[in-house]
């Protein structure tokens, strides 16, 4: 099995790395791929909450590295989707508990056993980022259409290039077309022009992301939300399939169509 190991990173915090990791993992699993999502944010774990698997954690990534358990024992299986597993981070330890070499060894054990390994990198450019990124074959850089986010993403891309990472691709998250049209938000092309890497996908701002995150039910478990469609398209492109670059409709357009649908009872 040819395992692909991705790191989802950004530099800046709060841009949606964990949400992207959870939803892409779910969507890839729904497409029949075997997937392990690794929470690389040791000490500030969140991926388990977003994936709704918090209550089933017994062992963590640090336990595996310290040989307190076997890798198979630490993998939490998602019962809603076949072949989806979470390797949770330890909340009570710090990023110093793991080094880059140990992360590489861990990923080497997963290589060959799964189709995809997706590592959720912590924010920042320090040890946590290095641990998460050195173990990966490819990087997905998440940026929101804000100047500060773009600058941090640019920094991260420079560091990834210095590590020799190729095929680093960009995901623009939380785009609001109405604000873009009114000139109050950077457009996708503004972001991708500065960062000068291939665009993998665009995710619209979607209130249902907040709801799903709080409920621990990733949007990608179903197809109804606009963001879920965007996650699906990104997952298809990760698999090498063609998928449309959906241009999210404006918030006003969405409201209009939503109103029409309600009137028609659909």
């Amino acid at each position: 099995m040819d395992t692909k190991i991705f790191v989802v990173t950004s530099g800046k915090g709060g841009v949606g790395k964990t949400t992207v990791t959870a939803n892409l993992s779910v969507r890839l699993a729904r497409e029949g791929k075997s997937v392990v999502a690794i929470d690389g944010d040791i000490g500030l774990r969140n991926l388990d909450v977003v994936m709704g698997l918090e209550n089933r954690i017994v062992y963590t990534l640090v336990d595996v590295i310290e040989n307190a358990c076997r890798l198979e024992q630490a993998l939490v299986r998602d019962k809603r989707v076949d072949n989806l597993y979470l390797l949770p981070a330890a909340q009570t330890r710090t990023k110093d508990a793991v080094n880059a070499e140990q992360m590489q060894d861990l990923c080497a054990k997963l290589r060959g056993a799964f189709d995809y390994v997706i590592i959720d990198s912590p924010a920042g450019i320090e040890a946590g980022f290095r641990n998460a990124s050195t173990a990966a074959d490819q990087a997905l850089v998440v940026a929101t259409p804000e100047v500060s986010s773009v600058r941090d993403a640019d920094r991260i891309i420079g560091l990834l290039e210095a590590q020799g990472k190729k095929n680093t691709r960009l995901i623009v998250n939380r785009i609001r077309q109405a604000m873009v049209k009114s000139g109050n938000m950077l457009d996708v092309s503004d972001v991708s022009d500065v960062l000068a890497i291939d665009l993998l996908g665009v995710i619209p701002e979607d209130d249902s992301v907040v709801v799903s995150t709080n409920k621990g039910e990733p949007l990608a478990l179903n197809d109804s939300a606009p963001a879920a469609k965007a996650f699906a398209n990104i997952a298809f492109r990760m698999m090498g399939r063609e998928a449309p670059f959906e241009t999210p409709g404006s918030d006003d357009e969405k409201k209009l169509f939503s109103g029409i649908r309600k009137m028609l009872g659909i």
């Binding site: 450019i125 100047v147 773009v150 600058r151 941090d152 640019d154 920094r155 891309i157 420079g158 560091l159 290039e161 500065v194 000068a196």
Partner: protein, 216 residues
């Protein structure tokens, strides 16, 4: 210090200057220009001792128009900046033998810093968060949104030529200028240089060369 100053008064004046400006000099990177003065090995030892008292001060290079002083510096293993026989010019051309031009065949991403003793040409962008510090002129084919300092050793005749310019600050020679509002020059090539006492930017695409002044 003026070259006409009496040699006997220089050590005390220098010590006073360093004491008064210590906060400014801390962690600074400086070029020491001796001018036409003739410096002995003892003078050199005194200068080094004085500079070493300032935490973090880095002497990037020494300059001198005196052959004897250059000999003293080089015999002690110090780096003497090329073109040391000439005064800084305002012509935009470095005097004497120039450092080779540094060619950067890519964009400078955030967090990257380049320092060069001569001219620099960047074929990509200088992105926000990147820093390009040159003793000579700077030419950037792409967009400049990061920090560029041309003529960093004090050469006010240096210039910056950018494919487009949107940085909040620009430094040329001894001047630091900032945009009153977020600079928005679109995609028009811009030439930035000091005109008299004012840092000016000219839109190169306009045949009339629109000119705009920056806040100093």
């Amino acid at each position: 210090m003026p070259e006409s100053a009496r040699a006997s008064g220089i050590p005390a004046a220098l010590e006073r200057f360093v004491a008064e400006k210590e906060e400014f000099l801390q962690n600074a990177s400086v070029t020491v220009d001796i001018g036409r003065r003739t410096m002995t090995a003892d003078d050199l030892l005194f200068l080094v001792g004085t500079f070493m008292k300032v935490p973090g001060l880095r002497v990037r290079a020494w300059r001198s128009a005196s052959t004897e002083t250059v000999r003293v510096l080089e015999s002690a293993g110090f780096r003497v900046a090329k073109g040391n026989g000439a005064e800084p010019t305002d012509s935009g051309q470095p005097g004497g033998e120039a450092e080779p031009t540094l060619l950067v065949l890519e964009s400078m991403r955030s967090g990257r810093r380049i320092e060069h003793a001569g001219d620099v040409v960047v074929t990509g962008n200088v992105n926000g968060g990147a820093e390009l510090i040159a003793e000579g002129n700077v030419v950037v084919w792409g967009d400049v949104t990061g920090l560029v300092h041309a003529g960093c050793s004090g050469r006010d005749g240096a210039f910056v030529l950018a494919g487009s310019f949107g940085a909040p600050q620009i430094r040329i020679g001894r001047k630091i200028s900032y945009a009153r509002e977020r600079a928005d020059w679109g995609t028009v090539p811009v030439l930035l240089r000091i005109d008299g006492e004012t840092l000016t930017a000219r839109e190169m695409a306009d045949p009339c060369f629109k000119k705009r002044s920056f806040d100093q």
